[in-house]
Amino acid sequence: MGDTPATEPESEPDSPGVDDDVIHDSVIHTRALTKRYRGGQLAVDGLDLTVPAGSVFGFLGPNGSGKTTTIRMLMGLIEPTSGAARVLGRPMPRSARTVLPHVGALIEGPALYGFLSGRDNLVRYDAADPTADPRTRRARVAAALDRVGLTAAAGKKAKAYSLGMKQRLGLAAALLQPRRLLVLDEPTNGLDPQGMREIRSLIRELASDGTTVFLSSHLLDEIEQVCTHAAVMAQGRLITQGAVTDLAAGTRGRLVVTTPDAGEAARVLKEQGASDVVITEDRVTAEPPDRELADLNTALVTAGVRVRGFVVERASLEDAFVALTGEGFDVAG
């Protein structure tokens, strides 16, 4: 497996009986995936998720929205109550043995053997993979440690690691082999801003090599910065999924005019067809009308409004999320 280029997710052998292209162009594909826990609680409810090959896919949702349960089902750790999941084109959990060697995963934070050194932790996880070649183990472990910047601390016992170092070691475990899919559950948890930036650039680097990255996070700006695609979950249900640009485009931007003559500006804007005009001190915000905005500015200036700033604030993913769920980004009750 070490000789397999990680760059060809589309080289999936198609089975003659299956003609649905979506299934085979996607790295993860679920149909009506449902998990009801023994207590009767519905954690994931009829999830239809499609992760395109080569994407950096952001999996968003508040805590308790079913993200981790979904990831556990995809990784074959828990059995779906109903529905089906395919990873790398093959059914899970049935094909766990052939699929998982191509998948690196960080699930709900790192878990380490505190009494082993960082290096020995990786050696152990690598030994657990029957497809990993023991002859190249040392070299691959060293390379993975280097990639996350842990070479200097490799000999230290893992219990002496800081949270950030543990997170890095967990990431290193996911990078022991060239992978076709990386599943990263909150990968920047516990990292300082510098560490977060490093991880983000690592993710971009891996993605440019062709690895599909499935990134779960509750940090919207993190998703916006690195992801090409995203899905939003709330209370076990999928609310939307698609390209990040499309998702944000669904929500229109707001016009923001900064001026000392706020009252007059608001009047002119309404006159020009803007709706939902809100005045806050020296800022006037409004839904812009469907016409050339430069004319709007001219109208303001002609009316004697002293304009300090005139800008359309692009909708963020957060705006999209609020628009979609009609609620803030809080823990589901």
Partner: protein, 304 residues
């Protein structure tokens, strides 16, 4: 293997399996994970502490016997109390091996096994490392077999630690030489050593049942401590029940019932009846609880 084949989506239309991918050609390196597991287990401070306690038992017994018999009286007194063979230690240090095994088999040895076996799966679940082993993917059946093999290895090592410690202390404190069997015949010291080794192997095999039971308990919980405590608790309960005459009919099914039959290896000729019953019973426990552990572990949702 594992639940994957038990209740996978049953080949409905678009879910039907594709031809195997070319990459995952290499078959299992059982030895590799097993070796790593041994390495991991025997490097733990806790494992070494357990072995240390086991090594200390023969030292304490040896010193106690030495002190007590310093005035020329025989150990165990006229009443013949204490573990089997204890009265013969002063004549021959080799008997300390038998005494030490008889003293540790009812409790210390199975307790140590209970700790290691109980922690095997539950401890990994507790630390969260289980999910990473399974995603690696270790394979549930493979992981369980590896764990069982490691616990069995620990049984053997623990027994040998007791035996070697006892032999060393016995040789240092007491004379060695030809020895008298329970049947009254005399065998050479070399023959005696071989018997001692055979006894150690039988004692190790006597622990298979507890090991299987502990491993099964370990698949039921995600708390290593709870699994260890339950296994040790079961051990004590069974030992107590084995002493209650009214439960006579059940006694032959208690894993500890024939434990002390290893003494029959010191008869001339060897009396095999209870020995084979013991080994058969251990095999039965291994099959029953091994299957139960497998059934449980391969279908379990790993939520930790």
């Amino acid at each position: 293997m594992s639940r994957v084949e038990v209740d996978a989506p049953q080949g409905r239309g678009e879910l039907r399996d594709q031809p195997p991918q070319r990459e995952s050609r290499r078959t299992t390196f059982y030895g590799t994970l097993f070796r790593n597991e041994l390495h991991t287990t025997f490097r733990r401070w806790r494992t070494l502490a357990l072995l240390g306690v086991l090594a200390a038992v023969p030292i304490l017994v040896g010193i106690a016997v030495k002190i007590e018999t310093g005035d020329g009286s025989s150990a165990g007194g006229a009443g013949g109390g204490g573990p089997a063979f204890i009265s013969q230690i002063t004549n021959n240090g080799l008997f300390l091996v038998f005494t030490a095994l008889a003293a540790t088999l009812p409790f210390f040895l199975p307790m140590a096994i209970g700790v290691i076996a109980g922690d095997a799966i539950a401890g990994e679940a507790n630390a969260g490392t289980l999910r990473y082993l399974l995603v690696a993917p270790a394979g549930r059946t493979r992981l369980l077999l590896t764990k069982y093999a490691t616990v069995m290895t620990f049984c053997l090592v623990a027994t040998l630690v007791v035996g070697v410690s006892a032999l060393t202390v016995g040789a240092l404190l007491f004379p060695l030489g030809d020895l008298t069997t329970i049947s009254g015949t005399t065998i050479s010291f070399t023959d005696g050593l071989l018997r001692a080794l055979l006894i150690a192997l039988v004692v190790a095999a006597s622990l298979i049942g507890v090991a299987a039971l502990g491993l099964f308990v370990s698949t039921l919980t995600t708390s290593g401590i709870a699994a260890m405590a339950t296994t040790v608790g079961l051990l004590i309960t069974v030992q107590i029940l084995d002493q209650i005459p009214q439960l006579d009919a059940l006694h032959p099914y208690f894993f500890s019932h024939y434990w002390l039959s290893f003494a029959d290896l010191m008869r001339e000729p060897i009396y095999w009846d209870d020995l084979t019953k013991n080994l058969g019973l251990q095999a039965l426990y291994a099959v029953v609880f091994g299957s139960a552990a497998w059934a449980r572990f391969t279908t379990k949702d790993i939520g930790s």
